[in-house]
Amino acid sequence: MTQEQMTGAKMVVEALKDQGVEVVFGYPGGAVLPIYDEIFQQNHIRHVLVRHEQGAVHAAEGYARSTGKPGVCLVTSGPGATNAVTGLTDALMDSIPIVVLTGQVPTFMIGNDAFQEADTVGITRPCTKHNWLVRETDKLSETIHQAFHVAVTGRPGPVLVDIPKDVQFADGGYTRPEDVKSHYAPQTKGDMAVIEALVDVIETAERPVIYSGGGVINSGDKASSLLRQLVDMTGFPITSTLMGLGAYPANGKSWLGMLGMHGLYEANLAMHDCDLMINVGARFDDRITGRVQDFSPRSIKAHIDIDPSSINKVIRVELPIIGDVAVVLEDLLTVWKARGAKTNAPAVRDWWAQIEEWRKVDCLKYTQKGKVIKPQHALVRLEELTKDHPKRYICTEVGQHQMWAAQYLNFNEPNRWMTSGGLGTMGYGFPSSIGVQMAHPDGLVINVAGEASWLMNMQEMGTAVQFNLPVKQFILNNERLGMVRQWQELLHGERYSQSWSEALPDFVKLAEAFGAKGIRIESPDDLDEGIKEMLAHDGPVIVDCLVEKHENCFPMIPSGEPHNSMILGENVDTSTAIKEGGGVLV
């Protein structure tokens, strides 16, 4: 086989093209100059110049989560690579496929504490799915193709390829993607015997619940549509984790709402009291299980997951099914239909009656009165005024606003909700919204933010303005590190240690300083008008929405408590709501 000869730098661009990459988020520096030179001389790949490498990685995550395709970053050695570490860890925790290319000092200088040298593969080994240091130009293109394969195959995740500068300059043979062989091929088809056993219990269960997660989104559109089919045909209630919102539509009739620490009362009680739990692509995270010993004590549990290490890691299940959600659900539906598509309908009807009782508690109730905007109300209005947009994408930062967004906004499609769940990275939302908007130029991309989180990556205003990305930054400004303040109120005797956002900028002027539009909303009466003005503006907007400063996010299951000891909304005595001992957990 004759291979085309080219420089390593050219190979990088060639490989990205062959992988179908349209956009690269990056930031140049000495160790990647040859690659930037190649980027300059072509028109296939757009490069988005971020303002901080962390922003590049979150933007790539937003791009990936909203398209299902891998996001790509290019950063320099040393500080460029270390700045990418938070984003890599974030992507690892949330199973987001991204490919990060880093420059490295020349091979002959590695180990000499050369200028801007860092042991990038060493530093990023625990926060990538896999990484490579490429020492020969002949291996470069093959490695990049492998990297894409690993990022998207099985449980997706971030990968990194570290490319020394001499490898970029040298010539080598280009390997095409179709000529690359990989042994990496995780099992996607589930064990039919266990699938049959699951069908047995689906037919007889009296109090079933489907608990779906980010794995459904990872698996792709087909997985969502099969999940909908399963839910609609069985009539079983379904709840989802924060990461799985949208896989089953919030306007679907079997939807219970999100579960977990800040999940809905009816969803959590259904999980606690069910006799059959079907986990579809979720990982029994501690925000879900609460106290493990008391987690859904009477249920038989099935778990569909592509990663064998997710199974029996936290919660022991009777029916483990290792495989891809779409493949397993397809087999499951085939078997179940072939056997007559039966359920224990009378029992399931009674179960629904019980759920309706729980629903009457109306756990998301809040009262908007007076001149101060309740954050919940702001989101309800945002929902009302944007829900009909056919291409609405929501990103969030991390904190109370994130949980309120999950509770009060409705997602009817997968890939429309970008949030940092596992790592909980403040500063994720804004750059992520940039990545989403790059992927969907005609989409309505809104980042629901807290003022403190938003400041963590505010430099990306430059990026939004430069690339004329009309991202809407909807800041619920409580002038507090709200989530931290809430915990201090509940667990630390209202001693608000360092949880105040002091010396905040004037967000309207800040927007204007970057050449963008700023809007301040101060009273409930101005909410709708302010939101409409935000939507009408064709360009980046910062909305500074001043909200109630000491609002708490409820319902809440205190860390380490079981699902049925939930703190509900209004009128709780927060000084006694959480027992001693709850404070040691996060």
Binding site: G154, H183, V194, D200, D275, L276, D307, N312, R316
Partner: protein, 189 residues
């Protein structure tokens, strides 16, 4: 109460099922991990153990296939049944890992460790050391007028026992390889 026809706490189709999942008994397992011999692969395995708080009792590694560039890592680890299962699953998801075998549960296996012992002394102690070495089938691989270096091969327990006997006889230094192991089935494990 529910009619579901599955016993709670059982797990379909898993060898893991045969043991009590909630057991707190600490088990010792020997795992054989076949990996691509690429840069950093050992760091990945060790990083997994330290990062997730698992124990390593011993670890050996060497390339076993020079053309295919495969290495075999033998790890002896301890943990509850649930932790051991998790360790195997975590090892299995490392990209350059091809196979993970639990030699402790996958049928009979043989385990060997090699150790070198330096025993210093003269007179009766020296004679006694030689006599015991003979019983343990230890080879003398080096000697001076004042010392012997013995080579012992066997299970870790045998090596422990030999060390126990040699201490009073002037044992000054030990080097151990850690365990290597193979399954006893006819096929490659």
């Amino acid at each position: 109460m529910s009619q579901l026809d599955i016993k709670k706490g059982t797990s379909k189709h898993s060898a893991y099922d045969l043991r009590d999942p909630h057991s707190t008994t600490i088990e010792r397992h020997t795992l054989a991990v076949v990996v691509d011999n690429e840069a950093g692969v050992l760091a990945r395995v060790i990083g997994l153990f330290s990062g997730r708080g698992y124990n390593i009792e011993s670890l050996t590694v060497a390339e076993i296939d020079h053309t295919g560039h495969r290495s075999r890592i033998t790890v002896v680890t301890t943990g509850t049944a649930a932790v051991i299962e998790q360790i195997k699953a975590q090892l299995g998801r490392i990209v350059p890992v091809h196979e993970v075998h639990d030699l402790t549960t996958e049928g009979p296996s043989v385990e060997r460790e090699l150790a070198l012992f330096k025993v210093t002394g003269t007179g009766d102690a020296r004679v006694e050391a030689l006599r015991l070495a003979d019983i343990f089938r230890a080879n003398v691989v080096d000697s001076t007028l004042q010392s012997f270096t013995f080579e012992v091969t066997g299970t870790s327990e045998k090596i422990d026992a030999f060390a126990e006997l040699m201490w009073p006889l002037g044992l000054t230094e030990i080097a151990r390889t850690g365990v290597v192991a193979l399954s006893r089935s006819e096929r490659a494990s």
